[in-house]
């Protein structure tokens, strides 16, 4: 009997990673804090305790200043875990974040010098989920949203078992302009196929990451509807972009996971400040929703569970 693609869609297990891994708080040394694009910085931290536990999609909650200005910590996605492949050099594992200076917190962070210490909490939240049957991952980055996706590409490539299960990573990097296209080389070094979209057309496709995704839909291998759906879209970027991707993937029945941003308070699920609206699983129609916490239940959510206002 022929089953519909929907019935065969791999059930995305909600793995409560944060309950399994050790979270850590302490001061770590800044190894690198360099400008990689206009107002965009890459920071490497000597944090083997966190690096050994962290997964792509999780975040660090960083206290950028010792005083009360700013008062709250700032969340940054795990961007890269350096040296993860070298098990023997576990102590050398560093963790990297990628950030854009947008306010008081990130401005303070950008002024930090190599050798200074930073108080971090992490890894926090749930990472991206790699379904067992994953063959093709389509990573869509908007602006600084590229940050967690490089870590994800690393994780997918490392989880790939040649000859048994080779996993392919297609990447779309969207940015306002050429100078803001980040991590292109990093993805290419991992063997990913990379496409670039700029809103001003200064390099690559002229338009947004969503436009390029839409236009290249036919070129991705989503699997035949009657077969196991072996592709997943992973996206991070501005809310409007994520909303469009959620709609497009829903219409085409493609599983998608989104890494969401929001104002976080505690970062550990206690303050309930970072609520987002989600559909209730035992939904009683359109108006039936509840709130989830971005920090603890996310920051990665299945695209079809998010309610967009």
């Amino acid at each position: 009997m022929k089953k519909s693609a929907k019935a065969l869609k791999p059930k995305l297990r909600t793995v409560k990673l944060s309950e399994l891994v050790l979270m850590w708080q302490g001061k770590v040394r800044i190894l690198v804090n360099e400008e990689v694009g206009p107002s965009c910085f890459r920071m490497a931290l000597e944090a083997p305790q966190v690096a050994s536990e962290a997964r792509a999609g999780q975040f660090l909650h960083v206290r950028v200043a010792a005083g009360y200005s700013p008062l709250l910590r700032r969340p940054f996605s795990v961007h890269r875990i350096s040296g993860k492949l070298k098990v023997e050099s576990l102590k050398l594992q560093n963790i990297e974040i990628l950030y854009e200076v947008v306010g008081k917190g990130t401005k303070t962070l950008a002024e930090k010098q190599v050798g200074e210490e930073l108080d971090i909490l992490g890894p926090l939240g749930n990472g991206f989920n790699l379904p067992g049957g994953l063959e093709t991952a389509i990573l869509i980055a908007g602006g600084i949203g590229v940050a967690p996706l490089l870590a994800l590409a690393e994780e997918i490539v490392q989880s790939s078992k040649p000859k048994v299960q080779s996993r392919k990573v297609d990447v779309i990097i969207g940015a306002k302009t050429k100078k803001l296209v980040l991590c292109e080389e990093g993805f290419k070094e991992l063997g990913c196929q990379v496409r670039v979209a700029t809103e001003d057309g200064s390099v690559g496709y002229s338009g947004t990451a969503v436009d390029l995704f839409k236009e290249s839909l036919s070129t991705f291998n989503f699997g035949v509807p009657t077969e196991w759906v072996a592709s997943t879209v992973y996206a991070c970027g501005p809310e409007i972009m994520l909303k469009k991707i959620a709609e497009m993937t829903y219409e085409r029945d493609i599983p998608a996971q989104l890494s969401l941003e929001g104002r976080l308070g505690c970062g550990v699920g206690a303050c309930l400040g970072c609520a987002i609206k989600v559909k209730n699983s035992k939904g009683k129609g359109e108006g039936d929703f509840s709130y989830k916490r971005i920090c603890k239940d996310g920051p990665v959510f299945e695209a079809n569970e998010v309610v967009w206002d």
Partner: protein, 311 residues
């Protein structure tokens, strides 16, 4: 450390190993912080505000950072009384730390029902009656702004339970001592103050309020001087023990509240910045006592009550 000092306090009949409590709404149901600190070392834990039925809470954005402060309008999102008892309390009761349940309702009857139900629950050490939540349409601060309403509510809850009753006061009133007196008259065993100060933030780029609910409660170091003044005023006039809170970030802040007349202190927003804040503050208080050769933390509150205004 040479001198052995006593850190233990008794508030509303609840014995605490040290005077540092974690404040309602800032420590979830305790489980969120287990990875970061030994919960056995806290003076007491106050849970997130519990209502009879589960509450979804307010729409986002629910928080906005301000200068040295945090505005929130969570709207009492909680799992509801029965789920709390079944799913959250079993975790909390594994620890030797007293558990104080913050309770809130839209009507007097809801406070009464919650209190009756929790009266049967062994793991609960006391109730904190929330008459000061500024972020709900009904109940909460609506009760806490009027002395008569506080007296009536507290006396009804008093009849419903033998558990120690702490009444949490709002600073958004004309005279907080009048409300404290009303709580005392109603039969409270202690008062805790202050809850958050009503505030507002505006995003000038979007030309919209910072919070979806427009106004919210301000917490953090910005409110500490106001909180300290109110704690001193209340502690000076009521017989009841006072739990002081509002912007406590450091041991020095906590000592100020104790000197103002508080028997214990609660740490709130600081938990978000540093999950170990409450423990570090307790440790810092001990160091302060040793350094100043004060053998007992209970001696500190004798200072504030002696201070008299000159005008």
């Amino acid at each position: 450390m040479g001198l052995k000092v006593n850190l233990s306090v008794k508030v509303a009949g609840i014995v605490m190993r040290n005077p540092v409590i974690v404040a309602a709404g800032t420590f979830g149901y305790g489980e969120e912080y287990e990875s970061f600190l030994n919960l056995n070392q806290l003076g007491a834990m106050v849970t997130k505000g519990i209502t009879l039925q589960p509450r979804k809470g307010n729409p986002p954005p629910r928080i906005v950072e301000t200068d040295c402060g945090l505005l929130n309008s969570i709207g009492l999102e909680n799992v509801g009384l029965e789920v709390f008892i079944k799913e959250k309390l079993p975790f909390l009761q594994r620890f030797a730390t007293p558990i104080i349940v913050n309770i809130c309702g839209e009507k007097e009857e809801e406070y009464v029902q919650i209190s009756e139900r929790l009266d049967e629950v062994e793991a609960v050490s006391g109730l904190e009656v929330n008459v000061s939540c500024p972020n709900v349409e009904k109940g909460g601060m609506a009760f806490g702004r009027e002395a008569g309403a506080v007296r009536r509510l507290v006396s009804k809850v008093r009849k419903a339970t033998k558990l120690p009753l702490i009444v949490k006061l709002s600073p958004n009133v004309t005279d907080i001592t009048a409300i404290a007196h009303a709580a005392e008259d109603g039969g409270a065993d202690a008062v805790s103050l202050i809850n958050t100060l009503l505030g507002m933030a505006i995003d000038i780029e979007r030309r919209k309020p910072g919070l979806a609910n427009i106004t919210g409660g301000l917490s953090g170091p910005a409110i500490k001087p106001v909180a300290l003044r109110m704690v001193w005023e209340v502690a000076s006039v009521v017989e009841l023990p006072v739990i002081g809170m509002g912007g406590i970030m450091t041991p020095e802040d906590a000592v100020q509240f104790l000197l103002a007349g508080a028997t214990a202190v609660a740490v709130g927003t600081a938990n978000f910045v540093n999950p170990r804040a409450a423990l570090e503050i307790a440790q810092g208080i001990e160091e302060y006592l040793v350094k100043n050769k004060i053998p007992d933390v209970n001696r500190l509150r004798e200072y504030g009550v002696k201070w008299k205004k000159q005008n």
